[in-house]
Symmetry: C2
Subunit: 186 residues, 2 copies
């Protein structure tokens, strides 16, 4: 496939925002794939997860790759502003959300509609101009569909003078594949 898939498209976008000298936030560390991507391209990364298993897996991945610029926080992303100092927020180039459950983890523990929207609500006003926010949603399972719906509604209602908000999705698949939302603070 020459067309970018949803995850490669997200990476392609992140490349436009990330740069050395900047900070980045991984709101959902999971197994650490995005955290590592951010650590390679920014000076400082804060990565959050509510699951100890995810924090451990991410720590291992980051250590193995030899990166020492990641703060791993075992807490909900709703509390990002409590953990990340304001001067780091001011210098944040990108924030990544990969919604849903931990792959091969306990599927009953997922990001939830209320925590995701609450996190955006908390954080968006504090982020600097030109910061990119990338949200990958997985409507293929029940809570995921509910969450994607809420995120879609929330993002569609953001003031166009404050945010650019785009969506990239595959539209002819029967199994509700993942899709990506991209926000940029204006």
């Amino acid at each position: 496939m020459k067309m970018p898939g949803v995850l490669p498209f997200g990476r392609l976008l992140l490349e436009k925002y990330l740069h050395k000298g900047a900070a980045a936030i991984d709101a959902t560390a999971g197994k650490g794939a995005d955290t590592l991507f951010l650590a390679e391209r920014a000076d400082l990364v804060y990565a959050f997860d509510i699951q100890k298993q995810a924090i451990d897996a991410t720590a291992q991945r980051i250590n193995q790759a030899g990166y020492t610029n990641v703060h791993l926080i075992h807490d909900s992303h709703e509390k990002i502003l409590e953990w990340v100092p304001q001067e780091v927020i001011n210098n944040t180039a990108a924030v990544v959300f990969n919604l849903g459950y931990l792959p091969s983890g306990d599927k009953s523990i997922t990001t939830t509609t209320s925590s995701t929207i609450q996190t955006l609500e908390n954080m968006l006003p504090s982020l600097p101009k030109e910061c990119g926010i990338l949200i990958t949603a997985y409507p293929g399972h029940t809570e995921g569909a509910r969450e994607q719906n809420a995120v879609d509604k929330y993002i569609s209602a953001l003031n166009q003078h404050s945010f650019h908000a785009a969506k990239y999705q595959f539209i002819n698949q029967i199994n509700h594949p993942p899709l990506v939302y991209a926000l940029e603070k204006r």
Copy 2:
């Protein structure tokens, strides 16, 4: 804006499909911007428009840039298969549609829902594997909204085993901005 706009996103995708040695088709030459983009990156281009004014403008643009690899056809894109030889179709890397009316032309003359769908219906089965089809739609005016709706429905119903079909759009603007559909023959 670091996020790609709809037109730059389309170009970014076209770059993935186009290459020297291949042919390309501009189904809606308009003022020739896409035709020129294709002429620069493919060996042979067929460009269609139903308006003489558009053909003349495109001819001038292509000539001024010194390209001699463009066949300009003053006819509807519904007739693409009548004009483009089968061996050229077999070697086509990308097809571009920029729907709607000619900028600064007669706004009563637009591509129409029926001609666009009919053209896709005629052409898609004949295109080679890995050919990319890019469709930019303009739902900001009445016929444009109707057309976008029909294109969306048509593309969403394409068999996922025959086509990858993606959509990129800005979702928080009140004035129904242009959006882009990308198809890839599997």
